[in-house]
């Protein structure tokens, strides 16, 4: 485990050094990341200028969902940059170099290939939103600290689920070499998690977004835990779903890897 952590740390450092080669670009991209996050907040701000609630969620509660979604999105970008390494390695044929490295899980190596330091700005925005909403909702420190461990558990599960969905989409690159479009699939799915899943009035749609594409577990359920505290059913299903999705993504990665035809010499 420590060895994996060390490898991840090396990649993070390398990514930071790479960004620092073009400092002005790093500054611009960091600003753009914060603007990107701010657009989501402004969207809700404008929406709540006209409505009192969205499917029962008031403004401050909705901001907990937005904060949770930005936190998960930020963690995915800062740890593995939405797996942008997969299509890149496949397209360039450099995946060969990773497969032969003396580390048992190639998926890990490809995942941590890129980690975007500028996205810590997204994480900071998320933490600011969560803190601000907690204050606006008049939560006491005791409330917050009693709920925090369970919230962290659901956020970790949400990150694992998001990672797995992104891995599924990215693995399509093994069949479609120029598959930059998978980025749009990942981006749109993740962004969709920023709305309360109670908006889905149809039972089948709600079921779909709780199981097949579990948007509910990516932000709404962590926000519910933050509001209501411990809920055995929600927390255990978050953990179970994260385990199932991660296992499935591992299996799919191994299956996809068998279809890899190197593009290098």
């Amino acid at each position: 485990m420590l060895r994996y952590l060390k490898i991840w740390r090396i990649h993070v450092r390398a990514a930071f050094m790479q960004r620092m080669a073009y400092r002005f670009n790093f500054f611009l991209i960091a600003v753009a990341v914060i603007i990107h996050a701010a657009i989501t907040v402004i969207f809700f701000k404008v929406l709540f200028g006209y409505v009192n609630n969205i499917a029962g969620w008031n403004y401050n509660e909705s901001m907990l969902i937005v904060g949770s979604f930005l936190l998960v999105d930020g963690l995915i970008w800062t740890t593995c940059a939405q797996l942008t390494g997969i299509p890149k390695h496949i397209k360039l044929g450099t995946l060969d170099g990773l497969i032969v490295k003396p580390i048992s899980t190639t998926q890990f190596l490809v995942s941590v290939f890129r980690a975007d330091p500028e996205d810590w700005g997204r994480v900071a925005t998320a933490l600011f939103l969560l803190t601000n909403s907690a204050i606006a909702l008049n939560y006491s420190l005791a409330d917050i600290f009693s709920r925090l461990p369970f919230y962290i558990i659901t956020i970790v599960c949400a990150s694992v689920i998001t990672y797995s969905i992104v891995a599924f989409a990215r693995c399509l690159s093994f069949w479609f070499t120029e598959a930059g479009g998978t980025w749009y699939i990942c981006e749109n799915i993740i962004r969709s998690a920023g709305y309360p899943t109670d908006i889905y009035s149809h039972v089948l749609v709600r079921l779909l977004f709780s199981t097949v594409i579990p948007l509910a577990f990516m932000a709404t359920i962590p926000a519910k835990i933050f509001i209501h505290g411990f809920d055995f059913w929600l927390i255990s299903s978050s953990i179970a779903l994260a385990a199932v999705f991660f296992y499935a993504s591992r299996r799919f990665w191994k299956f996809a890897l068998r279809h890899y035809s190197s593009a290098s010499s």
Binding site: N25, I42, Y50, V51, A179
Partner: protein
């Protein structure tokens, strides 16, 4: 002119070769459109309302702005220009009887036409089922603004690409402009839902001509008497972008150091 037509045709063919990406775009945008639909359906089902918009108007608004933004903005065109500069391939165009800006424009138009067709097939039925109807004048004005939007989008991302002469890497610059245009074009939220103060700031920039104005024409929320003024303002902005692109390209070429045979 024929040489640019060939570049335009090649651009469409290159897009066709990687048609999975278009399918991915379609799937992703259709997915986010469904989510938007449910969001507003849930708001209107509770008896709440967004400004003067009916649910149908709002749904069509978001469908059309998606069509326009995906067609005009999300083709990574700035990176195509950047790659040609950073990899030194731009030198090929300097020694050939081809204007680099016109060649890039032909390439961009190929991207636009390729993206436009599948999205029209997807979104057109939605418009017809919505019960909205546009007359000939509205369709003509919509087309005029779409053309203006295409030109603005071309020049902005061409300039972003050319910036790599000076900045080297332009990922940040590109992402920044993508966000700015996305917001200022009314793709995130209709501009008339903002407070008057914010609206006047947004109206100063030309990006509302890319999404908000053409879509408002189709949804019937635009006073056509303002169209000539907006078209003139769009053309002035295009002229300014054109001049800026020319100046930046000329000064960038002076800095260019290309190696190889």
């Amino acid at each position: 002119m024929r040489k640019y037509y060939i570049i335009f045709k090649n651009s469409i063919q290159a897009n066709l070769a990687y048609r999975f990406n278009t399918f991915a775009f379609l799937f992703a945008e259709a997915f986010s459109f469904v989510i938007m639909f449910y969001l507003f359906f849930s708001i209107y089902a509770q008896g709440q309302k967004m400004g003067n918009y009916s649910l149908t108007n709002l749904v069509v608004y978001f469908a059309l702005t998606k069509l326009i933004t995906v067609t005009l903005l999300y083709d990574n065109f700035g990176f195509t220009v950047r790659d040609e500069i950073m990899e030194g391939r731009i030198v090929e165009y300097l020694v050939k009887p081809i204007g680099y800006m016109t060649k890039s424009f032909a390439l961009k138009m190929g991207n636009i036409i390729f993206r436009l067709l599948p999205f029209i097939v997807f979104f057109a039925p939605l418009y017809f089922f919505s019960g909205l109807s546009a007359d000939l004048a509205e369709v003509l004005y919509f087309s005029a603004f779409f053309l203006i939007g295409s030109l603005i989008s071309f020049f902005v991302f061409y300039i972003v690409g050319i910036a790599s002469f000076f900045l080297g890497e332009i990922v940040g610059f590109n992402f920044l402009f993508l966000n700015i245009i996305y917001f200022f074009s009314g793709s995130a939220i209709p501009i008339d839902l903002f407070s008057p103060g914010i609206q006047s700031v947004i109206n100063f920039f030309p990006f509302r001509l890319i999404g908000f104005i053409p879509v408002s024409i189709i949804t019937g929320n635009y006073d056509l008497s303002s169209a000539p003024g907006d078209i003139i303002s769009g053309m002035i902005w295009i002229l300014l972008f054109y001049l800026l692109a020319k100046v930046l390209f000329a000064s960038g070429i002076k800095r260019l150091e290309a190696y190889g045979s």
